[in-house]
Symmetry: C2
Subunit: 197 residues, 2 copies
DNA sequence: ATCTTTGTTAACCAAACGGTTAAACTAAAA
DNA sequence: TTTTAGTTTAACCGTTTGGTTAACAAAGAT
């Protein structure tokens, strides 16, 4: 593993745990097992190191989601694939959703630019498809954006608010993961059940 | 308005916008229009000022939620009341959900203690009721905690991930609020529709 | 009138922070 | 063997940050 990779991995861990403002360059250096000056040698400054981590996090997810959204399957099938695929991904990367939400909240300008320039998840193929299937009478009339929001809510929220969910429902890690495994199939079933004519 | 109130309101604004780590005592003082030393005179230190704001935020919500959960209504009615009541509340306090999620993520120990000591939303009345109604054959067999999680997901997520939702779905503030108004009724209808026998 | 308590400020401080520098180390090219 | 280019480090620096201090002002209390 190169030094740059060591730094990158360490930065990902620390940024995800503490956020941009709470992360300390020294802590990242310690986590990577290298001298603090190397951080600046490899990534110039804190902001650029952060952006590298943030972009990488998104770039792991966006292609997966877009691939599903732009396929030729029915919506019902896409909903099934998305929930299964997304939950599988974030079970392995559980810190990602709260991290993204946090930095969206703290630094909206950066994130807005990010969404314009980088390849971010694009739901408009899905939205168009929903419109068509409504017209064809396959699913009930509704605001397509609400359906997209429902799908994201049901899949992303439990991970985004992980600590709160575990606290309120008294779940340990094992129970939480078990529930998330269950959700891989149940979410899609419920949503489909509530929208099909 | 007393000086203490001025500080508290200013702290709420700055903490919700920047998070604990990102907030600056000087910025809070400026926002309150008073000298920085007054912060320490009134609230001792940053941590205690933050805890005051955090506890207050939760104490506004918890009683509302618990009142609904512990009433004598049917689950269907409780779901309707909760979604309507919660969305109405956070439309007026939109920074609350991301704020809570962020600080849960950054400072889990503090939050765990908080949940044990303060009056936090207690879903177990609701969970017991769900179990009973499943046994009575009113709703489909399922894990009651999953249903509770569904309800929270559908209501809380759009606000928790507000910036992301607006970005991905290309919504301005007006469109976003319009969608949330619509959700006050549609969420409950959808959930009820998908669980009733 | 004088003392005490409470509220308020400007000036200050030590520690922590992000970032820089210059030197030392390494290994491959000349 | 020497040069050269790329790595890595210890030590340092200016600024920011949370927090303190001492002086001061207003208002009751004695």
């Amino acid at each position: 593993m190169t030094t740059e990779e060591k730094i990158f991995n360490a930065a990902r861990i620390v940024f995800q745990k503490k956020g941009f403002a709470g992360a300390r360059m020294q802590e990242i250096a310690d986590e990577a097992g290298i001298n603090k000056a190397m951080l600046h040698y490899c990534f110039k400054n804190k902001q650029l190191l952060f952006e590298a981590v943030f972009k990488n996090a998104f770039s792991q997810l966006a292609p997966q989601i877009n691939a599903i959204f732009s396929s030729n399957e029915t919506i019902f099938e896409k909903i099934k694939q998305f929930t299964h695929s997304y939950i599988s991904f974030v079970i392995v990367n559980p810190f990602l959703p709260p991290f993204v939400i946090q930095e969206m909240n703290n630094n909206p300008e950066f994130v807005k630019n990010f969404f314009k320039n980088e390849n971010s998840p694009n739901p408009y193929l899905l939205i168009d498809q929903i419109k068509k299937e409504i017209d064809l009478g396959i699913i009930k009339p509704m605001n397509p954006k609400q359906l997209v929001l429902d799908i994201f809510s049901m899949t992303v929220f439990p991970f985004a608010a992980q600590m709160m969910v575990k606290g309120i429902l008294h779940l340990d890690d094992a129970e939480f993961n078990l529930m998330m495994e269950e959700r891989k199939t149940t979410i899609a079933e419920q949503i489909i059940n509530s929208i099909k004519k």
